[in-house]
Point group: D2
Chain length 454, copies 4
Amino acid sequence: MNMNMKFLQDLLSRVSSRARDHDVGGRGRTSKSGSSPLFQLSAACHALMNSGGEASRILVAQRALEHYAQLDAQDRVAFFTLLAEEYAADSEAVHLAYAAYRDEESNANLERLFTACEPARQNLLRRLNLCPGGTFELVKMRADLLGLLKEHPELAPLDADFAHLFSSWFNRGFLVLESIDWNTPAAVLEKVIQYEAVHEIHDWEDLRRRLGPQDRRCYAFFHPATGDEPLIFVEVALCRGIPDNIQSILASTEELDANDADTAVFYSISNCQRGLKGVSFGNFLIKQVVQELKRELPNLREFVTLSPVPGFAAWLSSARSAGQVKLSPHAESALEEGAWQENEESRKTLAGELMPLAAHYFLEAKHRSGQPLDPVARFHLGNGASLHRMNWPGDTSTKGLKQAHGLMVNYRYQIDQIEQNHEAYSRESSIICSSEIRRMAAKQKPRSQQKADA
Amino acid sequence: MNMNMKFLQDLLSRVSSRARDHDVGGRGRTSKSGSSPLFQLSAACHALMNSGGEASRILVAQRALEHYAQLDAQDRVAFFTLLAEEYAADSEAVHLAYAAYRDEESNANLERLFTACEPARQNLLRRLNLCPGGTFELVKMRADLLGLLKEHPELAPLDADFAHLFSSWFNRGFLVLESIDWNTPAAVLEKVIQYEAVHEIHDWEDLRRRLGPQDRRCYAFFHPATGDEPLIFVEVALCRGIPDNIQSILASTEELDANDADTAVFYSISNCQRGLKGVSFGNFLIKQVVQELKRELPNLREFVTLSPVPGFAAWLSSARSAGQVKLSPHAESALEEGAWQENEESRKTLAGELMPLAAHYFLEAKHRSGQPLDPVARFHLGNGASLHRMNWPGDTSTKGLKQAHGLMVNYRYQIDQIEQNHEAYSRESSIICSSEIRRMAAKQKPRSQQKADA
Amino acid sequence: MNMNMKFLQDLLSRVSSRARDHDVGGRGRTSKSGSSPLFQLSAACHALMNSGGEASRILVAQRALEHYAQLDAQDRVAFFTLLAEEYAADSEAVHLAYAAYRDEESNANLERLFTACEPARQNLLRRLNLCPGGTFELVKMRADLLGLLKEHPELAPLDADFAHLFSSWFNRGFLVLESIDWNTPAAVLEKVIQYEAVHEIHDWEDLRRRLGPQDRRCYAFFHPATGDEPLIFVEVALCRGIPDNIQSILASTEELDANDADTAVFYSISNCQRGLKGVSFGNFLIKQVVQELKRELPNLREFVTLSPVPGFAAWLSSARSAGQVKLSPHAESALEEGAWQENEESRKTLAGELMPLAAHYFLEAKHRSGQPLDPVARFHLGNGASLHRMNWPGDTSTKGLKQAHGLMVNYRYQIDQIEQNHEAYSRESSIICSSEIRRMAAKQKPRSQQKADA
Amino acid sequence: MNMNMKFLQDLLSRVSSRARDHDVGGRGRTSKSGSSPLFQLSAACHALMNSGGEASRILVAQRALEHYAQLDAQDRVAFFTLLAEEYAADSEAVHLAYAAYRDEESNANLERLFTACEPARQNLLRRLNLCPGGTFELVKMRADLLGLLKEHPELAPLDADFAHLFSSWFNRGFLVLESIDWNTPAAVLEKVIQYEAVHEIHDWEDLRRRLGPQDRRCYAFFHPATGDEPLIFVEVALCRGIPDNIQSILASTEELDANDADTAVFYSISNCQRGLKGVSFGNFLIKQVVQELKRELPNLREFVTLSPVPGFAAWLSSARSAGQVKLSPHAESALEEGAWQENEESRKTLAGELMPLAAHYFLEAKHRSGQPLDPVARFHLGNGASLHRMNWPGDTSTKGLKQAHGLMVNYRYQIDQIEQNHEAYSRESSIICSSEIRRMAAKQKPRSQQKADA
């Protein structure tokens, strides 16, 4: 790898001045050898690219990752900038390789051009990955990077390298599905508590309620290189009939005989690793869990979600502001005062006005991609599920009220229709939904058309 | 991916004519739907690249690999050619991306060029890898490809793509070291019998002699995605002192208490998957096994190999033909008649003449890379081992006599010198060897110099 | 434990004279300390009963079992005699305890009498069992003892102690059912080869044919204290329909999709440990395997055996000798010459005469216990199976011809009738069999009644 | 089994009147069939003894144990009384067997007498143990029984039967040692929280502090038949030097590198199953854990406990009441006011007076068995440990202050002296202790002798 030698000198001056600053600040992050972690990290990266046999690289990679772990926020930016700028491809080599390809468009010449274009940092990341535990450290490193992209858009190509490698490393063929229950090691369970992103798990007793009973299941994907770190998990409730309410699932004290259940409800799906953004697991997970459950419990006939509608309240608010949608005064005040939960009449009014609006939201409100505005809808419809039923009020927690005025929906996974649903959705952005919801949306349309006509 | 549409038409005509041929030949490989596996495979590949959600791709990938498994040799060439030619990068996109990069050498533009240069087949291979068991099928597919490269050098870029992906997928961080012994599942053991490449394992009893006793060990690397398929394994004998003879190890009937051993001997290393050519496991394996053994058996002080010298006899023969080396008439006839094994005097004569020649072979005979001519020497010296001792006769099997006139050597792994040995070897091609061997080689030198002087 | 002190003196003199003999014989079995294993074993047993904490007993027990392993046949008799005579209960204590019980028949007094009656050797055996691996050594010790009982009927009470302990230790609640297949460790598989008692397994390839295909199963009971030593195993073939022939199962090369099978056939059941004689596993095993298979393969509707009839030929021979049964001259000569296998006519004749006799044998020939004469029939009928079908010729192996003139039968396990079958069999010795077999037996009856009437 | 028929009638009348009472009380514990659990249980026991094959017994046993689980306290007494009285041995059979034995004291006759004396309930318990999970149910049943023995001493023989069976079933050879850590299934960990008997575990975070750090260990014995129910466990801290204080262990936030530790401290040993009273695990456990730790961490040189002194405060109180021991007024008031913890002078005074008394307590205060009065001392000294050091104040928790005025001691396990210590202790009740403690005790002696002389 033809590494620009100037960079090391630049780097040395930069990191040594930084090291000096640190001494002044007395932050003491300098290592025993007197040099800062940033300096040591960059030296280790240099060594990793330029010397050594494969076995010695394991040690260097290990040290590099230890140094990285000591960086503060500022140093991380410096390190990522170093990767982006100095571990890019060698531009001269690119020009030469292109010239050859231009002269003869052979496969071999293209391969050389491809190699010349590959940023050196991809190789660096591969070598950092040599050491035991390296994969997870790199996943965390990318999580750090993602947090910086907004302020440092110039680091985007570095992120693309991570994404490129991770999509290879976390290929679906390498994932292992594991059931998580009360017999799972505590070291894994505490991560489930930590990573749950939809309906918070408050403590170990709460966790036990979700994992212990025979009418509850939890499945996660793991990757051999990241050991007992779950990548994504889904929590499942086994029920009779399709539930319309999350509190009844979370607070349930009665236990159904698993063999008596006819419906499996996916009520929480959590991605665990921010650093794996863009590597898609969720659709594989749900479909594999459906297979697993069908095999174990042949009585199951329905596979549905009980899902939040995270974008509804925000959409409604902005649609109202824009005058595209209008609520009755009664409904307005009920929503504002939040008092509808105890007031039968308010509930009726709201149900009558919110349901058509919600149906409209699902079918008509669009993301810039042309897909539905609601991110959870995009996920499940993109997986080939259909929008089955709206449940109101389905989630009366603070979070549920805030993001969706208490609305929840069921998406339905019908094994034999997933493919065609998916195709219809991805080709024509067709939203497959129940006739009930379509009817509901129709109620709303005229009004919004009236609006448009006006 | 901007796929050239012409290819499909070409392909269709090609495969349909082929299908017709098949019908004539009545080979019956056409599937129920009347079309040949090659046609179906190419259609599946097309589908994999152009449609569907990720979950549906699993099924398509599965079908594609099933079709591939049915191809005959001729069809494989056709399929690989298809991949090489039609799943290359889009040349127009390359030119455009390059133009942008030339105008502005930004990271982002380079990333686009890199993406444009990436052959579409890399993505195709990644998608074929989606299905369960796909990884192993792809490894076997590359083994097929490697067998065709000599006759079809135009397929080399395709092989480079495989190599590129496999070095990511079979990253050392994903490998799992497992001990193999008589408690290992029979399904794995039969593969050890099958893959042993150095000293053949004749049957289950032979296998048991190598795995069962407490002074024998075997370790293998596995990869989660290829399940119980070993990638590489090493067989180890625990001894007192460094052994000079392979037959005494293979035929041993006495069992040493493992705690009494002071020496671990690596006497057989076998790569199991031809399709993983170029993905290096061996050096990691030996070093990890050394760690493992040291931890379990603190009394071990020496870690050596008992290795074949596969290139010695051929080198000697050609050196003699070229007049660079001369044996005494007695030695010549002893070698020719092969009678030296039972003849004490012949043995003495041969020992006196062969040892200096062998030392010379190791130190002076060079590969075009500047490294030693002997491939096993390149492997161990490249790993940081030193050439420790020559043993003659060390292997009196037919194979051992044929390839090295019975010569074996010990390479020695000294943990604290591996790094510097490796550096010296890789930087300066220095061959680290015992003074005894160096002295032996010196005996030869004058003679060959005489030769040169003459 | 109030140990009679005289015994030690006796023992000492006996074993020392024996030791002397050994020296004369120069058999060299005396240990380093100059004393024989028998002496050391008896000393260790004494120590085990009279001293030490529980932890020290582990060591003593270990040594004792090592000494036992060195005994020759003669010494074993001496040792067992020692156990029988000197580790009996203390007769004086028995008399005293009885006197107390006679005076007051309290629970407490009975408990004391019970304790006084318990032979000291039960406690000794329990203490020998303290050391790791002790259980299996004791099982083998009893196997030795069983081999001596015929010649040494006086050792029967000692055998009763073993039986008493083993029925506690090998309680069904402690057994673990494991599936054995081609993924089972070789160390276990070689025991399956060794222990197979019904249809010999010739080599590893033969074994693979019985374990590898998806339409073959094997299950074994293990006990935690005897580790990977199988106690009993059953081999199962999954078929369509009930097979009538063992050779077609053993030599099968076609593999049925397990999900297409409707019948599970238990074609071989082998007890592995002679030393566990009288501890019944077989009935638990079959019933648990039936449950297991039903769960995994819901399409299975029939559970039958394909069983040998080990007592038929012997019974027929003696019945003929006794004049109770008469074959036609043609049948007689066909049987004698053994030529019927290739001769269609002989086969017909034999079928016509042997089947009624066989049915008669099952229904009328009685063991002294009042149960059927055939031991395999006793086992399966006692388990609640019914006698379903006779198959002739069902086993044309040398063994099959010799013991049953080629006859095999199917016993049928119908889960919902097992209980009542068992009750009927055990209360009234009712043999539950198919009407076909009953009809067959009826054909025979008149003849034998004629005989009786004559 | 010759069952007294009268008992059934008695039982019927008893349980039917009880059933009536229940109806009156409206407690509704009668089952669907209208009969009480007690009645059904006794019927099931009768069935278990008198009918059925072994397989059917599994079902009956299961039902019996389910009925037992429904019994209330009063019913349990009735059931245990039934077992004690009606499932005793048949007295007539005992007399007959004895008569035969008296006439001829043969082994066979003794065996028959032994069999006649064995209470039928032993067989009943063995058959109850047939069903899956039966063993643990029986352990709990005995725990119930133990709680009743004080009020119902007549049930002691029944308890002896349980003890007899359990010592066979829970033979050391059947126990499995497992390490318990933060990777252990939560279902086991919650039992550790529940069963911890020495230093309470407050919640999961507290548990993690005891299991998670690398300088903490926990080991438990399990039995295959009771699955994941720990029988006994010990918690270990790895330290540098011998600790003198439990709070510093329990509250530790610093983590020692396990390889740097030179001392393993057993600071809590908890028996988990009351029903296994009298079945000794503790000494095996400690010794096996010592082996395990030595193997894993060769740097460990000392194995000690940090143990409570549960009997010290009570002994001191009664010795003071009896005038055998006298504290200074200052010490008296310091102890009474409990204010010594913050008062340096009081601490000094108390140390000076309490330590000799404590040493005296260990060496002179005796249990009726002649062993030390302190139960923890009996346990460890009986195991072959020595009394190494007194630590004051070692436990300032409420419990520690209450039972021992804050005193803790270290018992020391020296592998090569365990045997002789044990022998000396068990033969001569010699208490092996450090010279320091002996010297301390000597200080006290004169005073107490003075007392005696006075």
